[in-house]
Amino acid sequence: MNPFSSGTRLRDMIRAIRACKTAADERAVVRKECAAIRTSMNENDQDYRHRNLAKLMFIHMLGYPTHFGQMECLKLIASAGFPEKRIGYLGLMLLLDERQEVLMLVTNSLKQDLNHSNQYIVGLALCALGNICSAEMARDLAPEVERLLQFRDPNVRKKAALCSIRIIKKVPDLSENFINPAAALLKEKHHGVLITGIQLCTDLCKVSPEALEFLRKKHTDGLVKTLKGAVNSPYTPEYDIAGIADPFLHIRLLKLLRVLGQGDADASDAMNDILAQVATKTESKKNAGNAILYECVETIMSIEDNGGLRVLAINILGRFLSNRDNNIRYVALNMLMKAITVDAQAVQRHRATILECVKDSDASIQKRALELVYVLVNDTNVKPLTKELIDYLEVSDQEFKGYLTAKICSIVEKFSPEKIWYIDQMLRVLNEAGSFVSDEVWHALIVVISSASDLHGYTVRALYKAFQTSSEQEMSFQSTSKKKTHQESLVRIAVWCIGEYGDMLVNNVGMLDIEDPITVTESDTVDVVKIAIKHHALDLTTKAMALVALLKLSSRFPSCSERIKDIIVQHKGSFVLELQQRSLEFNSIIEKHQNIRSALVERMPILDKATFSTRRAGSLPAAVSTSSGASLDLPNGVAKPSAAPLVDLLDLSDDLPAPSSSGGDFLQDLLGVDLSPAPTQSGLGQIQKADTDVLLDLLSSGTPIQSSSPTTEILLPSQNDKSPIATLDARSSSSSLSEQATSSARAAPMMDLLDGFGPSPLKPEDNGSVYPSLVAFESSSLRITFNFSKQPGNPQTTLIQATFTNLTPNVFTDLIFQAAVPKFLQLHLDPASSNILPASGNGSITQNLRVTNSQHGKKSLLMRMRMSYKIDNKDMLEEGQINNFPQDLGS
């Protein structure tokens, strides 16, 4: 009985499945069939075994589970007849994989079949082994395969060759045994054996350097001859494709030559002539010819330099690029990507054509071309290229926009020659594709805007105009009922800038020559923000940003204050907690706290680019090694091994004796803000928290700062029975708004701290009052001395000048001094005079600190510090603590 022609029931099943109208019907049919097959298997039905398996293959193809058929495959393989074996092996390859345990059971059958007298059965076993063999099987059966490489029948030899590839990939150690038999295959005349032999050699070269060396020495010339023979071979109908005898063989040969020629001048020399011949003689009208040319170009690019050939190759690519067939253009772009490292100049010549490809209607080509443009960009061509890309952004389709935007942003960020250009380009991108701009990009833009202080006015005016146009467009689109995506990121940036620099918008401050003057009234400005906040499609972040902007504007434009208050109050009833809360807080600030408002909403300090980028790369591991040699016997600073440096740095409470007053009090102060229940001080609490964040950032150097809050929690329970909590409770029960008035006074110094980030560095004034200087820290390598002074009339604030001296014979680089103080103190650090500390005390660095003691007269100063620096690029870290500040300073 013939298993393949009598498969009527298989046909019936396929028909039944095809007749199914719905997926549910199909599932039902398949379920029924599977049940029948299982029954038949259980009955051990010999006659239907192969038919069952054929059905299972079909079911498997449809995507249904067929694991129950795996054992049937093994049974079929073990049976004697060829047709059974054949379908058994097919099932094995389709239904099983190398990860399944069942596969181990088949090893023995495979071994027998590899030694079978029938060459077709040997072929079947080789094929199965080549497709699914695991490492264990590879080890077991490698000798058989190796032997079969010399089998008399070429059809077995070719399969054995491919099987060997699988084996050496699974177990590279075995590659040694295959080198000689593989090399012998290179002399074959039979195309199938030759092509598989070449593939085997290519893979051998990749796993074994010895094989590469051997083949390079012994067989390069032979392969060149083979390729020459193939190129010049007369017409052979059996292998002919478009006038070329077996292009697949050509390609395989070129690939192997590439592997041999890479990094070896002699081998490369040997193949020069034939490569030139292939590159010039190959017919390029048909796909097959182009495939060979493509491979040839790749080989020329990879082997050792030969100027003439490279020119030839680049010319071929140029021809490909201007080809009308999209397939050819695609591979040309692909190839140019590689050519760029060999000859960037030559690729640059094709820039215009490549840019055209970015605008192609085909997504695959667009993407390739864009990637190519991306690597073509350099300092000289960034401006025209970016212009082209942004121009195209206007017309590109939505799907591609996201990708294109990301690339443009990355180019602009990396190559921008000046800030104004950066800002201009980003504004254009925001205008065109604001909704595709990622958060990081607009965060970075804000950092740049904030640091370009001479461009604030220009930027805010440009954003104002852009925002107006975009919202007008939106209006008109709405009326024509067309859908236009709103430019979320544009709105955010515009709102932020208007909040910060609104006054510059109205007064036309910092006008550049290129600008047209515009007249904007204060109320226009408020209108814009109002539009942003009213737009219901915008998300919460944007609305929250708009609220903050309004608060800021209320202080910038006192005349609009009432109107702004009205807008803010409208959100009092918002369902979104964040908006509601902010609205209430801001309202009370406008109403009741005129005196502090202007200080509260002062312009943001210039954002630090470095901090931003470290935070962005926050996930990177910080390679910090601690200094182990710090001596412990110190007059003041206590050098500690920094197991958890940050925790140590922040929680002074642990191991400090309470300075003067009761410990409970001190702890309460230390934890003050965090302990208080949210409703009492929510508004200011938030500002304070924001403040602490800034402070923590200062200390963090990119490491997350969660460590401080666990401390709080640990300490919390132990506090429960102490008096400070009682006062705290009392405070929380009093009405929240009136409470804010008092707590705001406490917040004021916090604002000072923020201001300190601004461009006005504090000058230490020597007012004559003399305090003894203090050796704050001394280790075997570093000494820090503090000199104190106070401003007259401000006894709370102490000015400290820290002087760093290097005690080692090595220069310190990247010196960073960080300090932390308990919460009742506020600390401001000015930049250090340098971050390089000369060796052996030949010079020093100074850094000014300003400490404000809110509990002046009650508690004395406390400070913990951390110094990190590099010696010969090795990271060092030291820590210390000061609790013996001169008594007359603080209390």
């Binding site: 293959m57 193809m61 070719k158 399969k159 099987c163 395989r252 690597v375």
Partner: protein
């Protein structure tokens, strides 16, 4: 040639033949087939025959109502897998040693496109370097691996993928169709469907473990015809 899978799908998106040369679970296969087919069916005749999808590059060709899809690796460059955290560190070190090295550091098994997207997020310049990888000299591969082994960390996986010749794959699809045509005589979707095992046998003779075995139609068909005769 690094073929990862061969699919035959009709215009309605129904799979008619599927042969994978790497292991994917049933769910992964279904998802992959669905996504790819949707992508390819949406394209028109003028567009090129190559589609990039996840870590595959799909080379497809349409014959009447049947699509032939061949998936190959999307990677053209050599690819080292290391421990994630060493990424930037190693990039810096080896930039100085050889002209173009970047390290892709992963535990295991990330595809090329995913790797790339992560890299691009991290920094653009790494990406730029990556394109020069195929020019890395083979000697350097081994020196590099050796020196990494002794000095820094152990190499988890080294996998060197080769460049794909998309045009050759396209030509291969045509060869496959011609072979089927010769056997079935004016082959159509139903032939493949009702003679699934024969189609598979043919494929078996042509491709093994993702490599091309035989390119002569008569050599491919002779074992199949022999069997037809004996039965």
């Amino acid at each position: 040639m690094g073929i990862r899978f061969i699919l035959m799908v009709n215009k309605q998106g129904q799979t008619r033949l599927a042969q994978y040369y790497e292991w994917l679970t049933l769910e992964e296969r279904r998802a992959l087939e669905g996504e790819i087919v949707r992508k390819c069916l949406a394209r028109n005749d003028q567009q090129c025959s190559f589609v990039e999808h996840r870590n595959y590059k799909i080379v497809y060709r349409r014959y009447a109502s049947l699509f032939f899809l061949v998936g190959v690796d999307n990677d053209e460059v050599s690819f080292y897998l290391f421990n994630y955290s060493m990424l930037l560190f190693s990039a810096f070190i080896f930039d100085a040693v050889t002209r173009v090295i970047f390290m892709i550091s992963f535990e295991h098994g990330y595809g090329w496109s995913r790797t790339m997207s992560i890299l691009e997020e991290m920094d653009g310049w790494i990406y730029k370097l990556s394109n020069s990888w195929s020019f890395l000299m083979p000697d350097h591969y081994f020196n590099l691996i050796h020196c990494l082994n002794i000095s820094l960390f152990s190499v988890n996986t080294v996998c060197i993928w080769q460049l794909q010749n998309e045009l050759a794959i396209l030509e291969f699809i045509h060869l496959l169709v011609e072979t089927m045509d010769r056997h079935f005589g004016n082959v159509c979707e139903l032939d493949i469907m009702f003679h699934l095992e024969k189609a598979h046998f043919m494929l078996e003779e042509m491709v093994m473990n993702g490599c091309i075995v035989e390119t002569s139609k008569s050599n491919i068909l002779s074992p199949i015809q022999l069997m037809d005769k004996t039965s």
